[in-house]
Symmetry: C2
């Protein structure tokens, strides 16, 4: 049937620091992944394999972290980790820190997350370079399986003005993360306005629908999407500072 299939990859094992993620993914998708599919991977398995875990017992909170945490009933060590992962605080109120990470993502708590991490005193950071993580996995899948499939690394972000989180792309390799219709005409022959679609974010959101939050499905395959082949990275999905009206 014409259209797109979203295929969950089930039975993926718990990942630990130092695990061979390329090998685990290749084994999990080997029977299913085809060239032309897009593989969406939640960042958390990459972060874990890359050892991006922090034992809060080792964290000495700063004065600001202590004061803010005390005021809002948060863990001061976790707030400190959020500060360390940030290069700029955008908003800080009601116990939340919305900041710009070193990658340039603006999100709550700098992507630092305590859920889906074994050990109650451990938090998980974003990968150091999600685009590099995506490119590495893509290259490994080509080498091990002979399959050429773009890789999208996803995380769940909140949004200004809208309730609830959705998955977005924080790392991209092997496809154009944007579909740019500027300069093309609509079916009536009029030029399209302001039509650059963040398709990598839409792929991440679509994949989330078959992953769920509690099901332990960190991989999904998107089959049948005609992605752009110009390349690009997750950095292309960041609003350029000079166009950002919400700094």
């Amino acid at each position: 049937m014409k259209g797109i299939q979203l295929i969950p990859v089930e039975g993926f094992p718990e990942v630990r620091p130092g695990d061979d993620l390329d090998g685990l993914v290749a084994e999990a998708v080997g029977d299913t992944l085809r060239s032309g599919d897009v593989l969406v991977v939640t960042h958390k398995v990459m972060s874990k394999a890359e050892g991006r875990l922090v034992d809060l017992a080792t964290v000495e909170p700063s004065a600001l972290a202590k004061e803010y945490a005390a005021r809002w009933g948060k863990d001061p060590r976790q707030i400190e980790v959020v500060f360390r992962e940030s290069r700029r605080v955008v908003r800080m109120d009601r116990g939340v820190v919305i900041s710009e990470t070193r990658h340039g993502f603006v999100c709550a708590n700098a992507g630092v997350d305590a859920s889906n991490v074994p050990g109650g005193d451990t938090v998980c950071l974003l990968p150091v370079d999600p685009d590099r993580s995506a490119a590495k996995l893509r290259a490994a899948l080509l080498e091990r399986l002979g399959v050429e499939a773009p890789v999208v690394v996803s995380d769940s972000f909140g949004r200004a003005w809208r309730f609830g989180i959705t998955d977005v792309a924080i790392g991209v390799s092997g496809m154009d993360p944007l579909a740019d219709y500027r300069g093309r005409n609509d079916p009536h022959g009029y030029p399209m306005e302001a039509s650059v679609l963040a398709v990598a974010d839409e792929l991440a959101a679509a994949a989330e629908l078959v992953m769920g939050k509690t099901d332990g499905v960190p991989l999904a395959i998107v089959r049948g999407y005609a992605y752009g082949r110009d390349g690009g990275t997750g950095q292309d999905l960041l609003m350029p500072p000079e166009r950002d009206m919400f700094r």
Copy 2:
């Protein structure tokens, strides 16, 4: 195969004010739509059927609209329509107006759009009540086809901090637009943090992947998604003002 299918509904006719949209949709999806599918409809076909088109020749711009349009090379009549569709301006710079519509959506240009509208001097507004439009279509499909399928009305919104637009849900009927994991435990037994997923927005984004912008595909069917049956509307996707850090 386990997973979700995204199915484009092709060959949908151009919609004109006063057209029987329920009948057109029922005819277009009659052979395909099944109970338990989600039907995603771009708002534009609803707006057109509901006559939500404005001939700019009839619009007298205000002083502010004239001045702002002149400064940024925009059509003052179109800016005026944006003002009329807004109840609050959030940001106004660089020729853009980001405002809160009467529905409560914060978006660029109050959802007023000139693309995909026949006639260069006509703009298209959002439906008066996208939730009501969704509910009406859902009821009609149940009556005409005997099919119980939630309806999601979509539009393309920009995002703070991220480049490119993605489709979101502006009207919902027949499903819970949110999946609330608060209070549940992750696979390690720890409570989930901040995990309310805006699944109706993810469904809209997923559907966009099979619609495209220039292909004239205003309908898509999502098959295999286990939506929540608690109900709710697109209004549930708005950030409550008291929690909004970006007013």
